[in-house]
């Protein structure tokens, strides 16, 4: 019984520790494995505009957002906002990917994008 209480307390603590996680966010964004899977999707769907390293230095079509720095993100930097931008498109240039990737794939993509950004936002769980 004590162990069960400890486990519950531990779970609560974990939720508190990942305070940036909104209720609607997927736990996948904390997973390094998800980020790794997300990279494959990123190469397929995103690198054409944002570059293989996310810095968008090579896009001659338009000024895509540098995904490695939070400055200049126009549609929000929170995981749910990133998810929405990917799923439904953003601004004039970024198309919607809802028919190209499942929700889980998009969350893995979000995990990958977080993984190439500032240290404190990167997935921590193995």
């Amino acid at each position: 019984m004590l162990n069960r209480h400890l486990a519950a307390a531990f779970a609560t603590a974990m939720v508190c520790m990942t305070a940036s996680l909104d209720a609607a966010d997927s736990p996948l964004i904390e997973s390094k494995a998800a980020a790794k899977n997300g990279k494959a999707t990123y190469l397929r769907l995103c690198q054409y505009c944002h570059g293989v390293d996310g810095k968008a230095h090579e896009n001659i079509d338009f000024q895509a957002t540098n995904l490695t720095e939070l400055e200049g993100w126009k549609r929000g930097t929170q995981p749910q906002q990133i998810f929405n931008s990917i799923k439904n498109g953003a601004g004039d240039d970024m198309p919607a990917f809802k028919t190209k990737a499942t929700d889980d794939e998009i969350w893995q993509l979000v995990a990958f994008i977080l993984s190439i950004g500032p240290e404190d936002r990167r997935p921590k769980n193995d």
Partner: protein
Amino acid sequence: MANDTRTTKNAGTVTRRDFLGSSASVGAAAAAGLVAQAASTNANAAADAKSKPAIRPPDEMKTRDEAIKPANFPMDGAQVFAKFCKDEGLAALFCCPGNYPIINAIAAEGIPTYGGRTEGSMCSAADAFSRVTGEIAACSGTEGPGFTNMIMNIGCANAARTPLLVLASNMTISGDDTERRIQQAYQQPTTEGLKKYGKRLIDPSRIYEYSAYAFRQLKTGVPRPVHLDFPGEVTRARFKEPGELQFYYDKTRYRTESKPHPSPADIRKAVEMIGKAQRPMIVASTGVFYSKAWDALKAAAEKNDIAIVESGPSRGHFSDGHPLSASVAPDAMLSADLVVLVGQYCMPSIGEFAFGPETKYIRVDPDPTDIGRNLPIDLGIVSCEKAALEALADALPNRRRPQWVEELAKARKAFEAENEEYYQLGLKYSKDTKLLHPAVIGRELSDFLYAKDLPKEQTTIAMGGYGIARYVRRYARAFRPGQICNGAYQYGAIGPDVAYTFGTAVAVQNGVGPQKAYKGAPVIGVTGDAGFAYSGMELETFSKYKVPAVIILYNNNAWGVYTSGRSPRAMHMYLFQENLRYDKVAEGLGARGEYVTTPEEFRAALVRSYDIAAKQGVTTLLNCQAKKEFWSQGTYPPGMVRNVEPGCMSYNH
């Protein structure tokens, strides 16, 4: 059709028989028809005929049909070079005046020659000619300004791996460094990085020898431009007999037709890998076309049910209509577990092709120094593409892969469904705005070329433009080699579009290489309002030579990248005046012009223009009015549509 009195009453679709007949009659009546052409090709001129002189080709066009006068000893340096080019099968020369001894000598040898309005455009015309024929073409210009006008276009040809022979005069050896007279430039350093081989000829007696250097490079290995510049002392040197020329050997002795063949061990390994794969796919690229390996490609694919997807500067070496084609099946790419890159000279980096992360790669290329660049390989095969595909076709066992074939069919269906969705959206947007959406242009063009009376293999397209190409590529199909010239391939230049269309049209008019069966047919060109500025003057060249085409100009009043003009103070730099009348420019240059703003107008104008091109040899510019906001996915989704490569949307690699 504003102010146009030349509408053909019996406008309708034209069959191959029609255009072949009209082509023959056009040829027979070439001389007598010049005045008639003038009357039929410019409505404004006709209207003003009483008071203003009419636009008409020069009388001297007739002299192109005079007897060929091949040179023989004694010859000057230019004649030696021209004779060499003729012997090597140079298929055409596109030029502007300058480099006079060379271009005159080439014309005298009977090599088809064309004079246009800018050296750069003529360079791109030669480039496109090669991309749809597989044959070597040349361009030429005067020293200094003429030569430097070609730089962007040489860059395009270099990126596309075109066997382009770039020629230019270059003052005199005796005047080097002096700035004596005008137009001095150091040419060879200027093309550094844009060519396979180049040489300023400085020893007249070696002109034959360096001609051999040039054609060895053009006809072997991975092609790229070869640039020769000729000082006056070389082209005007006199040679009484062969003994005065160094290295004067027959072509069987200064080069070889032998090609590198794959090692049996490599083929065994490739067969083993293909055998283990469930969903193998061949990327058939540039080298498949230039080695004319389309029959071997088909044999290998059909023997083992290997999917084929195309990439490169031209399309059609594997028919989009084949059940194993993945060129219009982008979703199939991700599930390919083994990819065989054949003749993919311009290599993508990891992730640029839409294959999965676990995909294994075999690369077949004649150049061992390039195998392994950008993309890690599981097997490299040094070989001529044709030899490798023939060896694979021989060695592969017969095997059916019904599940894979079904997956390909599903992926093609999904792509067509997406295109249909865009078309329906385009129709709605067109109705709402009374302007032409690009999806409508793409789909209506596709219906006209492939779903009605024309044989679907007939019409060659010079695919250009920026945003418009993103749409039209999705709907354009290739059913035989050289049916699509992929204009912006790799270098990303939009400017040469009209020039590419001219080179493509000349190739078809002359029935060169895979265009032979369609000799004389009109071609389609696609461009945008931004691109048109760079080579639009070549409409005059179309008219002068009576080379038939229908050029679709997508006019959205802006550069395709206008969404990058983010700050209000910056936006003006991305925009043009609205509703410009490029059709009137066409009329002023002796071609036809039509201005269309609705799907109905576009449909009718396309039929009418093609008909006039086929029957009268007259080119039309269709000025298709759109709006820049069609590129905004927020306002008019899907906006600037996404590219997936390889396949029909390829233009990066």
